[in-house]
Amino acid sequence: MAQKKIQLDTSAKKTWCPGCSNFGILATLKKVINNLHQRGTAMEDIVLVSGIGCSSKIIDYLGLNSFSSLHGRPLVSGEGIKLGNKKLTVIVLAGDGGMYNEGIAHLVHAAKRNVDITLLVHNNRNFALTTSQFTATSPQGFKGGSSPEGSVEEPLNPLALMLSAQASFIGRGYSFRLEGLEQLINKAVRHQGFSFIDILQPCITFFDTTDSYNKRVYAMEEKDLTDEKKALAKIKEWDYQDEKANIPLGIFYKQERPVYENMLLKDLSFSRGDKKINFKKILKEI
């Protein structure tokens, strides 16, 4: 039975730059949520978690449970939410600065642990909200407030990092290819385990890569998704530096692995109230 379309707007005023590519992600996310709802997920069981940055403002614009965490920390906040109540569907939204700079340790470990969370990185390849400095995925030579002569560091390929950290779902989307993005996020949310999506999200004010991306992006075929070697080859087609290389979009890698919280919470049930435990016996044992 088809459910009614859910209205997700809030009273919060949107403070992104006019024309910001985050608007597209917001619209897509609404569709994804509606999709989830159609498939039977209760609205109250969805939690959005964000960090701090332009991208992270998104949770104020969605009428759902949400937790605005610290810069760099939303992923690990989300992991905690899953430990606190593993029935919840957790979607984490973060900027590249937050995820690939400030909080990169959490990214590696969440992937390795395989927590059942979907992470969407709004990758505008600069710290936008702090008026543009280079991040881990800015190209070498990036000119920003802290690197007026061009940054000297080479960029990191976050997908390669995720593959080596054993992320069980690795994808890339683009904020100006919204249909593909919606399909991709739908699949990521349905995947049981850690789903990582790097969303290319041109910053139209500080680092507008739109024209360049438009020429180079293409949708990959979905095949051999469990083949690590092939995934790596695809991931290496573009290194976040080369301005000529084609940029594949879609799923690079997908593998079923046991989920962290299911293992960690095995044999346990969380209750509110006094526990029925024989403390005198425990005192004897320890």
Partner: protein, 553 residues
């Protein structure tokens, strides 16, 4: 009749001195003595020197003392280091395979030879030393045998053979009498903290290993099913605290633990918890700092840090229990308080409380239970996570509840949890939190936040906090002074302190740090200290040391 024994057992790391001490402590506990064990060990895995100092008394003792009645030496270094502290009548029981002594009151046992005779692992020589001690002080073989059977599930026969051989080879010199008192269970402070929190409904403990807080992690991990607590070790302390805040947001009672360095990493999120009003208990078990300090040794240098940690205009509960019983009670109480006031709280202990072993009064179990937080009641009313109430406390709800949205926010927010920047709205939310801080202050004023011991009429008072309570209390009782221990340190129980100090003309203060940090706090509340007794050699105070300092006080 003597009823206060001091027993030191030492050796190289890996020789099993701690296990031996625990067995002896259990033996004396079964004789009705109350136990305190101080463990000193170095930051290494094999070699070096470590020792355990047992105090077995008729009344309650909460510290070890200078004079030793029995020195049990697994190696020569133990004798070299500690023989100077032997009481005149003191007895040395030693490993004659590693040392030889001419001293009159000494018992030589070839414990290494006994172990190798039975082709046992070297570490089992400690069994021989314990059995030799038992014989020396007149403990009968059946009692010893029973205990060894309990203590050794692996290699039980072998241990019993070694014990028996040593028992046979040793002569009885004195008799430790049984007391007509019930044996109490023995518990480390860390175990007490773990159990107290579970009693108050702990669902999840998250940590990254750091001495001296690691014992909580190990205790809960070992008993996770029995205690129905999930235990998670994450990549660093920043992850630990942020995940904990996440799980509390989702409705799970969560606690984290570390020492000063790890706690320092948690401070940004401490502020987040205060701002987003998410309940969380942080156990801060101090060790000697600054920096990496003296990792396995004691210090009380993080008081001011705990009070000030976290950016912004915030307060939090800070409670510093002074022994295992207080640690049990306050660990549970603090978890309840955190949830009732939706605030971060710090349980400030130290190595001496965390890792020492104490006799534990089981009747305390009944004093800690799950206490409800203020939850959303009216299911028809619109839910606002940060509803502006008169008490400043907004009813809690959790994601998963039908028809509502729970929006928690680290940015300043409106009642619904949406980000705001307008001056008026910012001030409303800050004022709401300030009212809550007042409610927290009021709550403290209704608790037993300050303890008074010793001669309550004396016009001279000794103030101490945390683990210094033990030696300070003992010194004060012997000198006929009043001893005052503030247990809650924020919100500071100013009125209760004033009551505790009523009629006092002269105040001394003892703490194991160099800056007299509690002295700083007392000064803020107009309490002037006449004499500061400070110790900063990474060791706890001994009662004798405090007494000497107070001789002419």
């Amino acid at each position: 009749m003597k009823n206060d024994y001091s027993i030191l057992i030492g050796g190289a790391a890996g020789q099993g001195s701690r296990k031996a001490a625990l067995i002896i402590a259990k033996l004396l506990s079964s004789f009705g003595y109350q136990i305190f064990i101080y463990d000193e060990y170095q930051s290494l895995i094999r070699g070096g020197h470590s020792f355990s100092h047992i105090r077995a008394t008729k009344g309650k003792a909460l510290s070890h003392r200078e004079k030793i009645d029995f020195l049990l030496a697994l190696d020569k270094e133990t004798i070299d280091r500690h023989a100077q502290h032997l009481d005149k009548e003191g007895i040395i029981i030693y490993n004659s395979d590693k040392a030889s002594l001419q001293r009159k009151q000494s018992v030589a046992i070839a414990i290494d030879s006994i172990a190798s005779e039975y082709k046992a692992d070297k570490i089992m020589a400690n069994t021989a030393l314990v059995a030799g001690f038992g014989k020396t002080v007149g403990i009968d073989w059946p009692s010893l045998k029973k205990l060894f059977k309990q203590e050794f599930k692996r290699f039980q026969d072998l241990n019993l053979k070694i014990a028996r051989a040593s028992f046979e080879a040793t002569e009885q010199l004195i008799t430790i009498k049984k007391l007509n008192q019930k044996a109490k269970p023995l518990l480390t402070g860390n175990q007490a903290i773990a159990l107290g929190a579970v009693k108050a409904g702990l669902n999840l403990y998250i940590a990254y290993p750091m001495t001296p807080a690691t014992g909580i992690l190990h205790c809960l991990a070992a008993k996770r099913k029995d205690l129905q607590v999930a235990v998670s070790q994450l990549e660093n302390e920043i992850a630990v605290i942020n995940a904990a805040i996440g799980s509390a947001y989702a409705g799970a009672r969560t606690m984290v633990g570390s020492s000063g360095g790890g706690f320092a990493l948690m401070t940004e999120a401490l502020s987040l918890a205060a701002q987003s009003e998410i309940p969380i208990v942080i156990v801060e078990s101090q060790r000697m700092s600054p920096g990496s300090g003296v990792p396995t040794y004691n210090g009380q240098g993080d008081l001011l840090f705990s009070l000030a940690a976290g950016h912004g205009d915030i307060i939090r509960f800070v409670v510093a229990p002074g022994d295992a019983e207080e640690a049990f009670y306050w660990s549970g109480k603090l978890l309840n308080l955190s949830w009732q006031y939706q605030t971060p709280s710090i349980l400030l202990v130290d190595k001496e409380v965390s890792e020492s072993t104490f006799s534990f009064d089981e009747s305390l179990l009944a004093q800690v239970r799950y206490e409800k937080a203020i939850l959303r009641q009216d299911k028809k009313k619109e839910y606002l996570r940060y509803r502006d109430t008169t008490t400043g406390i907004s009813p809690l709800a959790f994601p998963g509840e039908k028809n509502i949205q729970v929006k928690a926010n680290s940015y300043e927010h409106d009642q619904a949890g949406l980000t705001v920047e307008e001056g008026e709205k910012v001030a409303v939310m800050q004022a709401k939190r300030l009212r809550k801080f007042q409610a927290m202050e009021k709550a403290v004023s209704q608790m037993d936040a300050v303890n008074v011991f010793g001669d309550k009429q004396s016009d001279k008072a000794l103030i101490a906090w945390g683990s210094t309570k033990g030696p300070a209390k003992e010194a004060a009782e012997q000198l006929g002074l009043r001893m005052v221990q503030p247990v809650v340190l924020e919100p500071f129980p100013a009125k209760a302190m004033a009551r505790a100090l009523a009629g006092v003309k002269k105040i001394a203060l003892a703490e194991t740090n160099g800056l007299a940090q509690l002295g700083e706090v007392l000064a803020r509340f107009g309490i002037t200290v006449d004499k500061k007794i400070l110790k900063y050699d990474a060791r706890p105070f001994l009662p004798e040391e405090i007494k000497r300092e107070l001789n002419r006080f």
